[in-house]
Amino acid sequence: MPLTNISRWILYAVLLLACLPAQARIFTFTAIPDVDETRLIERFTQVAEYLSQQLAIEVRYLPVKSYPAAVTAFRNNQVQLAWFGGLTGVQARRLLPGSKAIAQGEEDQYFKSYFIAHSSTGLTLAEQLPAGIKGMTFSFGSKSSTSGRLMPEFYLRQQFQQTPEQLFSRVGFSGNHSRTIALVQSGAYQLGAVNYKAWEQQLRDGSINPNRVSVIWTTPAYPDYQWTVRGDVDAEWGQGFTEQLTRALLAMKDPALLDAFPRSAFVSASNADYTAILETAKAIGLID
């Protein structure tokens, strides 16, 4: 682990202070808690420092416990910028008209999810999900996750013309990608769907035992994570702030910084890039 335990906790402490409402508004951002908090904190404290340098203002990261909490904090102006998933971004921009998607990871233009299976299922990597998954047990990640729920559910419905509840004997929501992997690896659930980036990172960390759990299918590509900013930041931090912020994000080139996400680079994004996600969410009934 790149950070020692102690420094990790000091970071927690700093973050905790950041939880308290600010007297004068400090530019604050959050992120959906899609993986381990340790990783998130590594990732976003570095980003806070970086942005602080680039924008010459104080920048803080506010950790939240759930996907909707991230959206709510954004909508309530407790944070002005957020690293959302595809679905949470769409939700947030619908709840707060005027907010904009400004940047996404290079990989987020063609993101994908892995379907994983416990070894006892006997399933192996295939071009298509086998019909044999019917009646098995299945775990999504968080209910509002794009890669851990929305898109996997979309492709499941597309292929089988059934809701997951009809298709599987049991459907769970583990909470995040790491838990999904742990639950499938332990055999509590036979199948699961995870963010491919989270999977690959944990594979490198060695916390996955390939004899117990493996990838059986990869979804087609879809747009996912993006930075979304409130529409009223220019009014508070001055004309052109959004542009300045976008430039700073796109200019993030330090591999140490990018690896933490993990993304190879950031590219510009717009609300329109996520129309497909919105439509999918509507089709599934996650958005009215």
Binding site: A13, C19, P21, S66, A69, T72, A73, R170, S186, G187
Partner: protein
């Protein structure tokens, strides 16, 4: 009358025993319809990690830990004090049906759901934590205080002081009678407050639960073990530091510690009101009824059925577990040192958040209603066992009373039985409330659908489902009252259970 009939009277099972057997029978019937199964595969890797974590407990660094502990304590102390006062005032007006309904509604909603609602308005301000606990607790306090006063009224010398004004009457004739019960109950409640305050960390408030959830979600079981040990210590030590006269002092210190200027953005209130408006009305369409029916069919109906199935099975299982647990902490059976171990076990079982117990069981048994049921049963069984054990200590046995199993079945159990059943009835409502929370595990209880609604920002649906949960709680509460009445179970002050 024939001699035969007088010589051979028929034995009839006592009504109270039939009552419990009835509960078990209902549970057995429910389990036929409930989704219960055990699917074991390879939980050992994760289980090993957990055991490893349990044997190497770790804590966050002192400064951070101190802050988390202080926040946990402060939320609990302030919220319990506030709600004791509010509950007392409400209890004086309990004769009004409107007040009774109001109290029933606010206590029927779990702290976590209150937390989720208040966060929408206040964000992560300390007041969020305080209100999330104090609102439901006020409803509970009001009910219990009203019951205590009602019992006192029946025995009070106030009946012979009719000429005195009602205030003096209360002060002289009633207060001395109810005060010890108020005091005991308020301290009981503090234990629940600590637990609730911890749980609120799960939704982001900076209490012990915040780190507990983090540790848990990232599989850092050492941290989980360390924090749980700390929680046991806090709860186990309550009786040494919590004294009623000190509570207001603690509350003042805690409020000062938590104090932060609060700026409510009124626009948020506007947002909230818009969100709470049912979707069809918002879109000014006339499809209100179909909207309601769809929710009713897809969410309310399965939610209510699953919640009932889980809680009825959990209720009976809690009862059986309590009957097994209580001798462990009873002076009638267990020598001092073993009893300490028994106490330790019960503190652990009743203080570990159900969500964590359920997750461990999920790993072991795979997904079904079973982990949720077992988690509820273990938690509530340990609480009832603890209370029954304590109650049994007051029994004075004759010198030649039997030992071992004979003592258990003939001497102690019949004597504690009514109390036991009264305790269990009080848990009924609580189990329903808590089963909603375990919906987060993917079991389709009402709580599962409420969580769904929060996740997809359908506050109108969330509030509707919360209202249904509240109604269900109220229904179960009145049923349990009827049940207690039928079985002649005294609703005596000692029957009240902590959380």
């Amino acid at each position: 009358m024939s001699t035969l009939a007088t010589n051979w009277p028929r034995y009839q099972l006592p009504r109270s025993l039939l009552g419990f057997l009835g509960l078990i029978a209902i549970a057995v019937i429910c389990s036929l319809f409930a989704d219960i199964s055990v699917i074991t595969r390879t939980p050992w890797h994760e289980f090993q990690q957990m055991l490893l974590g349990a044997s190497t407990p770790a804590l966050p660094p002192p400064a951070l830990l101190a802050q988390a502990v202080l926040q946990t304590l402060a939320f609990a102390v302030v919220a319990v004090t506030l709600s004791a006062v509010a509950g007392f005032i409400l209890s004086l007006m309990f004769a009004h049906r409107a007040v009774r309904i109001f109290c029933a509604v606010i206590r029927a909603v779990h702290e976590l759901f209150w937390g989720l609602l208040v966060i929408l308005l206040l964000g992560f301000h300390p007041l969020t934590g305080i209100l999330a606990i104090a609102i439901p607790f006020s409803g509970i306090f009001a009910k219990v205080f009203a019951e205590i006063q009602e019992e006192a009224r029946q025995t009070s010398p106030g009946n012979s002081l009719k000429q005195a004004d009602s205030f003096s009457n209360f002060l002289y004739a009633r207060w001395p009678l109810v005060k010890p019960h108020f005091s005991t109950y308020t301290l009981y409640r503090l234990e629940c407050g600590l637990r609730s305050s911890t749980i609120l960390g799960f939704i982001g408030l900076p209490t012990l639960g915040f780190y507990l959830e983090s540790g848990f979600m990232q599989g850092d079981y050492s941290l989980v073990a360390g924090l749980l040990l700390l929680l046991y210590l806090l709860i186990g030590s309550i009786r040494y530091w919590a004294k009623l006269p000190l509570l207001p002092i603690y509350a003042v210190i805690a409020s000062l510690y938590l104090w932060q200027p609060l700026s409510i953005e009124w626009s948020l209130l506007g947002n909230l009101l818009v969100d709470l408006t049912p979707a069809p009305i918002k879109q000014s369409s006339l499809d209100f009824l179909p909207w309601l029916l769809a929710i009713g069919r897809q969410e309310v109906l399965p939610g209510v059925i699953n919640t009932l199935l889980i809680s009825q099975i959990a209720l009976a299982a809690s009862g059986i577990l309590a009957l097994i647990f209580f001798p462990l902490v009873s002076q009638q059976f267990t020598p001092y040192w073993l009893r300490l171990t028994g106490h330790l076990l019960l503190v652990i079982l009743r203080s570990t958040p159900e969500l964590i117990i359920a997750f461990i069981l999920l790993l072991l048994w795979g997904p079904s209603m079973l982990p949720a049921i077992a988690a509820l049963a273990i938690h509530n069984g340990a609480i009832v066992g603890h209370l029954v054990g304590r109650y049994s200590n007051d029994i004075k046995l004759r010198r030649d009373a039997g030992r071992g199993f004979n003592r258990y079945s003939y001497e102690i159990l019949p004597r504690v039985y009514r109390q036991f059943l009264a305790f269990l009835c009080y848990r009924w409502e609580v189990i329903i409330r808590e089963s909603a929370i375990l919906g987060l595990l993917g079991v389709h209880t009402l709580g599962f659908y409420i969580d769904n609604a929060f996740e997809s920002f359908r506050l109108d649906v969330a509030i509707l489902l919360i209202a249904i949960t509240a109604l269900m709680n109220i229904a179960v509460d009145s049923f349990s009252r009827w049940f207690r009445h039928r079985l002649h179970l005294q609703s005596s002050a000692t029957a009240r259970t902590p959380c």
